[in-house]
């Protein structure tokens, strides 16, 4: 088996283990955020309020709608890893292709 294939299996295992990372926080992170400012200092800074919602991520806080906390987190882990693999594979291929005339590097 190629070494990258073995490492890939390691990633799959990690993907299923991510709910361990939820034990520490317990609640969703979204509960902190802007409300927490009202609690802490009594107001929400104006600029912070204006720019904090400039982008609405589709799976904010690793939450996939209509699924439970743990399933959400596992789905996010696999979806996220797939996207990272895709983007780095693409970047890698583009950079490596330009390197074909120097196959041994440097």
């Amino acid at each position: 088996m190629k070494s990258w294939a073995k490492l890939f299996i390691g990633l799959v295992v990690l993907g299923f283990l991510v709910p361990i990372g939820l034990l520490a926080s317990g609640t969703a992170w979204g509960e902190w955020g802007k409300d927490a400012f009202t609690q802490m200092i009594g107001y929400i800074p104006k600029g912070l309020e204006r720019f904090s919602e400039i982008w609405h991520a589709p799976f904010h806080d690793y939450t996939v709608s209509r699924t439970g906390n743990h399933i959400s987190y596992i789905l996010s882990a696999f979806g996220g890893m797939a996207l990272v693999l895709l983007i780095t594979w693409g970047v890698g291929k583009i950079l490596a292709r330009k390197n074909t005339d120097r196959p041994n590097g440097k």
Partner: protein, 335 residues
């Protein structure tokens, strides 16, 4: 949760109802009240913020909120309860000593940094992306592209493993130093930036405007500082030398803490540089003396340790079970 409460002047105000819904350890929150209790079985003490709380914004190194005791739940029995429930109320100054950490994270969300700061951070990170792309162009081969992808995905997933930090916040490793040691710091810059980009775009973990700042802190500073530290300790020792795993551990610890300090400085400069005419902060409201201790506490303890363990642990594991990743492939991949 450490709380020091000092008495202010008594004010007569009726006890209000408190339909709190959110439970968080020893705290209860809703929009206007905040409940605390000293021990798990003791009653909740509810405080509401006073409208002029802004004036008590900061005192020395701690945030100070002016609060009023408004309710005790469940109601106390006997004469004590009668006194408290019958309109007993007092102003209190509450100093939340650890709470700042819950708001300041390494992944900076949008709104915490001014657009100007965000622009500066984008300008700072672009030369590193450019240099990294040029270096990779000269070194990446079809054999090493899968490794670049796998370690980038590892960085993404390891950041989902939150570990608890005393005081209620969480911290996590980044895998950035590990990637820098195995594939070289320039590959790590591209790989970790990619992971951060996906986190920001799809999962709202870190801002889009703040992506430049997050990429600079997490994807540039951690790999470069971590890698240099590792090289300093490992030098040219043979692969079986313990210098390698020790260097990896120290590199991980130093790298993530360097980035935390930088993020804290970015947070802490906001109220100094960007405020309204009367001095009210527009973005992150915590100054350097508040942001630095809050960030560094979580990172000098838990996050630094997590990064050290992940970096050294995976390095040792690979050395034992898949040495070809470190020797054969890494030799031509390391840039």
């Amino acid at each position: 949760m450490k709380l020091s409460i000092s008495k202010g002047h008594p004010v007569g105000e009726k006890v209000s109802e408190c339909p709190c819904k959110i439970k968080a350890k020893n705290r209860l929150y809703n929009s206007s009240h905040e409940g605390f209790r000293g021990a798990p079985e003791s009653p909740w003490l509810f405080y509401s913020l006073l409208p002029d709380t802004l004036q008590g914004l900061s005192e020395g190194n701690t945030l100070v909120r002016r609060c009023r005791l408004t309710e005790i739940y469940p109601p106390l029995e006997g004469p004590v309860s009668a006194g408290l429930q019958g309109g007993y109320s007092e102003d209190h100054f509450i100093r939340p000593e650890n709470e700042l950490q819950e708001i300041l994270y390494m992944h900076i969300p949008d709104g915490y940094l001014s657009p100007q700061t965000c622009a500066v951070m984008y300008a700072a990170v672009v030369p590193f992306w450019y240099t990294a792309a040029r270096k990779l162009k000269g070194a990446l081969t079809s054999k090493t592209v899968p490794l670049l992808s796998i370690f980038s995905a590892f960085s993404f997933v390891i950041m989902m493993f939150n570990a608890p930090v005393p005081g209620g916040t969480t911290a996590h490793a980044t895998g950035a130093v590990l990637m820098a040691i195995i594939l070289g710091p320039w590959a790590a810059i591209i790989g970790v930036s990619s992971a951060l980009f996906i986190q920001a775009l799809f999962f709202g973990d870190g801002g889009i405007l703040a992506f430049g700042a997050n990429a600079f802190n997490i994807a540039v500073v951690i790999p470069l500082v971590g890698y240099w530290t590792y090289r300093l300790i490992a030098r040219s020792a043979p692969m079986k030398s313990s210098r390698h795993w020790m260097g990896a551990a120290v590199g991980g610890y130093v790298g993530i803490n360097a980035a935390a300090l930088l993020a804290a400085v970015e947070f802490g400069l906001q109220p100094l540089l960007f405020h309204t005419a009367n001095g009210t902060p527009l973005y992150c409201p915590y100054n350097l003396s508040q942001a630095i201790p809050a960030m560094m506490f979580a990172h000098l303890t838990v996050a630094g340790l997590a990064e050290a363990i992940v970096t050294a642990g995976v390095l040792v594991f690979l050395k034992k079970s898949m040495p070809e990743v470190l020797t054969g492939i890494a030799k031509e991949a390391r840039i």
